[in-house]
């Protein structure tokens, strides 16, 4: 879920005609001062982080004037609060609060509709209030086609026991709140407290919208960098991984780190799952053996070999891991040889030394296991491939045995070497990379096996030299499926004339930094 900060959420409410306290977001103490000065009244400073209960954490301060505001801001900026560091502060007028209500929206999976929630009792401790006074909480299922009509909102507020100007203001607020949620594909919204001021006006004193990850693509105006929910700011490596996913929707690639710096003495491994259910089971199996996970990763939904390659390169950007464990449900419907080829390419480039146990069970598992066995003979690492009849527990045991054989081996992160400019070679662009042929070597090739190896059948021989059989535009758009079969065939069976470059933006710099720091 892509969460918006309070100040961003309030902007959307304000745009829709809902009253929010006067104020603005600041990124420096000087900006805080300017805003407070401009407002010319007592202000409240609120840290902008994805946490609730901010006041208790020291994230809310009051100031009578611009100078006090700046002083308070200097204390707040840079302060560490749980997993976050304060780098944004919302400076707002103080409201004269008479009472606090609660309004929220969620998607109800059992009714299959949005559900608006309203209570005339709001503020902190709302969950306990809901538990102790359930009849004070009103749930309003919303018809996705009709939306929330004004009269429906009025009837709810009337049933809450309110009347007069308050009735019309609150019902107006609810209808507008739903419109904002619908417009921005918010899968949850919370306004707590919804304040009734001493002047009987209705203000959204705090607000949080969470945008549906899968709808972020249609809201570029929201400037959401990463459409994933983290309980801490994403790491540099996670950002790099997310951007692999951004333009390439062939299968999923989900990656997050589970450790900071990995100590050399501990049994950390790189984890590469496939499919949520199976990955969790596989995680349990290795955790049971006393391993610790450096990361969680999931490549499933029939990803391209190139995506699995990138996932492996990212996992292998973590120093000091002692092993590599790849396992999903064991009975995957996707063609498993793509994942196998992706790993072959990555493990070769890394000249992998740590042991790897790869459970690629399912559709075409025999071919996948054969690919691993055939093409990983030349690297230092011991790599074992398993299938659907081998349990995750058995595979975890194998990894335990392999890492036990030589406990001194740890993964050393190597720099990404950008290839020499290959401008004189024949090449074509693929969806996410470039494929080069060293045609000077091709006349000596006996089998011309790349033509047959190409699963998309897009190569042909022209005067005994392999070239594209489709247009470069078609290849780039996806006719070349980045299956890596031609490169692997040529490298291991013929003249090593094919080279596929699959860049991972940011990874070179990331690895250089890791290497420099160690």
């Amino acid at each position: 879920m892509a969460r918006l900060y309070e100040y961003q959420s309030k902007r959307l409410l304000k745009e829709a005609g809902i009253c929010v306290p006067e104020g603005d977001v600041a990124f420096t103490p000087e900006e805080v001062r300017e805003i407070a000065f401009r407002m010319g009244k007592p202000v409240v400073l609120k840290m902008q982080v994805w946490l609730t209960g901010r006041a208790k954490l020291g994230g809310v301060k009051f100031a009578k004037n611009a100078q006090e505001a700046e002083n308070a801001a200097r204390e707040m900026f840079g302060m560490k609060v749980k997993n976050y560091v304060i780098d944004k502060i919302l400076v707002e007028e103080k409201l004269k609060i008479k009472s606090e209500c609660f309004a929220g929206l969620v998607i109800d999976d059992s009714r299959k509709s949005p559900l608006l929630i309203f209570s005339s009792i709001g503020g902190t401790g709302i969950e306990e209030i809901a538990r102790d006074y359930p009849d004070q909480i009103f749930q309003i299922p919303i018809d996705i086609i009709k939306g929330l009509r004004d009269y429906e909102a009025r009837n709810i507020i009337r049933k809450v026991g309110l009347s007069g100007k308050l009735l019309t203001q609150l019902s107006d607020f609810l209808t507008k709140l739903y419109k904002v949620a619908r417009k921005y594909d918010a899968r949850s919204v919370e306004v707590n407290p919804l304040v009734i001021t001493k002047d009987d006006l209705v203000y959204a004193a705090d607000c949080h919208l969470t945008i549906d990850d899968y709808a972020v693509f249609r809201h570029p105006e929201l400037d959401i960098e990463i459409a994933r929910e983290f309980d801490r700011p994403p790491t540099q490596l996670e950002k790099i991984a997310y951007h692999v996913e951004e333009k390439d929707h062939r299968g999923t690639f989900y990656f997050f780190q589970m450790a900071g710096e990995i100590p050399e003495e501990e049994k950390f491994i790189g984890f590469h799952g496939a499919g949520g259910g199976g990955s969790m089971m596989s995680m349990d199996a290795v955790l049971d053996k006393g391993f610790k996970l450096a990361n969680y990763c999931d490549t499933s939904g029939n990803p391209s070999a190139s995506k699995v390659y990138r996932a492996a390169k990212i996992i292998l950007s973590q120093p000091n891991i002692k092993g590599y464990f790849a396992s999903g449900s064991g009975v995957a419907s996707q063609e498993q040889f793509h994942s196998a080829r992706g790993m072959v390419k990555a493990f070769h480039e890394e000249n992998l030394e740590i042991p790897a146990v790869i459970r690629l069970g399912g559709n075409y598992e025999e071919k996948a296991i054969k690919i691993l066995g055939t093409y990983l003979k030349g690297i230092p690492a011991k790599v074992e491939g398993y299938g659907r009849d081998d349990s995750p527990e058995f595979c975890a045991k194998r990894l335990e045995e392999l890492t036990g054989e030589n406990q001194a081996i740890q993964h050393k992160v190597k720099p990404i070497v950008n290839p020499n400019p290959l401008q004189d070679r024949y090449f074509f662009k693929t969806l996410t990379g470039k494929l080069f042929f060293d045609h000077k070597k091709c006349p000596e090739c006996k089998t011309k096996g790349c033509i047959k190896a190409c699963s998309a059948k897009i190569l042909k021989l022209e005067k005994e030299i392999p070239v594209l059989a489709v247009s470069p535009e078609e290849a780039k758009k996806g006719k070349c499926t980045e299956c890596l079969a031609c490169e692997i065939y040529c490298t291991f069976h013929e003249k090593d004339a094919i080279s596929i470059h699959l860049p991972i933006p940011g990874l070179k710099e990331y690895r250089d930094r890791i290497i420099a720091e160690s």
Binding site: F102, I145, D185, V189, E190, Y214, M280, G330, V331, S333
Partner: protein, 298 residues
Amino acid sequence: MSILVNEKSKVVVQGITGREGMVRTQLMKDYGTNVVAGVTPGKGGGKVHGVPVYDTVEEAWDKAGPVDVSVIFVPAALVKNAALEAIDAGVKLLVLVPDRVPIFDVLEISRCAKENGVRFVGPNTLGLVSPGKAVLGMIGGRAESAKEWFCPGDIGVSSRSGGMTSAISYYLTKAGLGQSTIIHVGGDAVVGLSHPEVMELFEKDKGTQMAVMFGEIGTTQEERVADLIEKKKFTKPLIAFIGGKAAKSGTRFSHAGAIVEGSRGSYKSKVKRLKEVGVHVVDSISDIPRIAKNLKGN
């Protein structure tokens, strides 16, 4: 008995000329599914693995229909339109394979489906199988695998995890226990046929004697299955596994979410509730075939 599809059901594949569409049409055909047409706007007149391609679902219905099922393989952002088109043309069962379909799109599809007496599975589903009769979607990957992993019998399988749908069915097959219908209900929070709705179908199906359910944390699907059992609306033996035990709580969206769900949605609440009503909750997938055999013995 197959609850949703059999070898005679006429199936249309929307997005047939795409990457998945082509490969899985081959899977479905080779398995024995009656794929009568495909639809890709602009590619009408062509053929994919011998299946005629049309420009619209309405045209496919006119020329090759009436159509019972549509399996949809189009990009996520286009799934809503494809689904509404199929519903409008008169199709009564949809299988939405793509992942990443926006949640409000799913809510609209659900509304339209309800108004038209249409059922849908997914989104984000591998699909479903009536072993020996038909495959809808991509489950099994290719016909040879599907024929090996799934075998006709009387155990209904319903799962929220794709890979585990096949895994559970495969392990049952290996133990000599066949399946009546296998459904991946999908990984998203809002889906067409959810666990409780599948259980209702299994209840009515004379060919299903017991069911196996793979559940997960989040949503209220498993608790609602327990409610059904309590109300005697599902009376057959049920074996369940709930995934996500070790997952961190804190994947709560908000106070609002907590208010609506209460304590439902957690691993503990699901396991407790299911055990309360007599469901056999297992700690390991490998226990399922053994317990199923015991239950059959009775």
